[in-house]
Amino acid sequence: MIDRYAWAGGTEAWVRHGKAGQPLVIAALPPFEEANRTRALMMRVLMQLTVHGISVTLPDLPGTGESLVATEDARLADWQAAYAAAVEEARRDHPEIHSIAIRAGALIDVQADVASRWHLSPQDGASLRRELGRIAKAAALEDGGSVEWPSASTVVEVAGNRLSNDLLAELLTGYPPLPAPLRVIRLTEDAAPADRYINGAPLWRRAEPDQNLDLADALADDIADWIARCAK
């Protein structure tokens, strides 16, 4: 079911499945291009969670998805505030709410008041910003031009997306460590620390959106176990 939730800056759409009274998983995709590459994986994970008796929601955030906010007006602080507001609105129907995020989606649930967090291959803001810089330069190079990076202008074009320089600056903001309970999952070949490593290819790298049902189902099982353990 698609309807809308309210936050301080307006309303945004959210997809919701499940029943009132069940625990709820709210999900954050990584921003920008990686959202397209991981959406199919995330939707499969969410659908599998409903089989485990867990309700799910995937909110659009201001300046992403179907949002009427222009991409260049998107701010990380607004994403965090909108996500936290979605959690509060969902709490009317769901006493227990857990957040899951893929990649830099892990930057989005920092303000949310949730029972636990589960992050797949979390990417920090500095790494995302470095990658956006590379993409901007590469795209400019392919067009035979060049790009100023870091840029002094208000809006920076990154491969067709017009991004606010304020947003790029927000990515360098440091955060205190997230409170427990937090579970971090990474793919087997990742060097960074994690609570568990799972086999699978990083779909967020593929130029063409791809799906991996085995990976999605393994992730959904892990989340369902995690939530059951958090409830004890």
């Binding site: 330069k137 795209a139 491969a159 060097a191 990083p202 790298r205």
Partner: protein, 90 residues
């Protein structure tokens, strides 16, 4: 897994080419030090380079500054493994 030797770095670079570019494991396994990359692999356009570098950072636990990259870094498979080894094993 933080690599401890050139062999492990080479294995990681092969895996990144496979996973980030979607090149089949068989094709990647046939790469040797002289296999040309940038300009020769159709999958490796300049946009793909951005993802490749970030994935190398993740897999090898390294930080790549854009100034580190020059025309030769991605010239051949051997050059890329040398670059990644210099970063990961120092």
């Amino acid at each position: 897994m933080v690599p401890e030797g050139v062999d492990q770095v080479e294995t990681a670079v092969r895996a990144v080419l496979r996973d980030a570019l979607g090149i089949s494991a068989e094709r990647v396994a046939a790469f040797d030090a002289t296999t040309p990359l940038f300009g020769s692999l159709p999958e490796l356009d300049s946009m793909a380079v951005a993802g490749l570098l970030t994935e190398l950072e993740d897999r090898l636990g390294i930080l790549i500054e854009d100034d580190d990259i020059d025309g030769e870094t991605l010239e051949s498979f051997g050059a890329l493994v040398r670059f990644a080894s210099d970063k990961a094993l120092r």
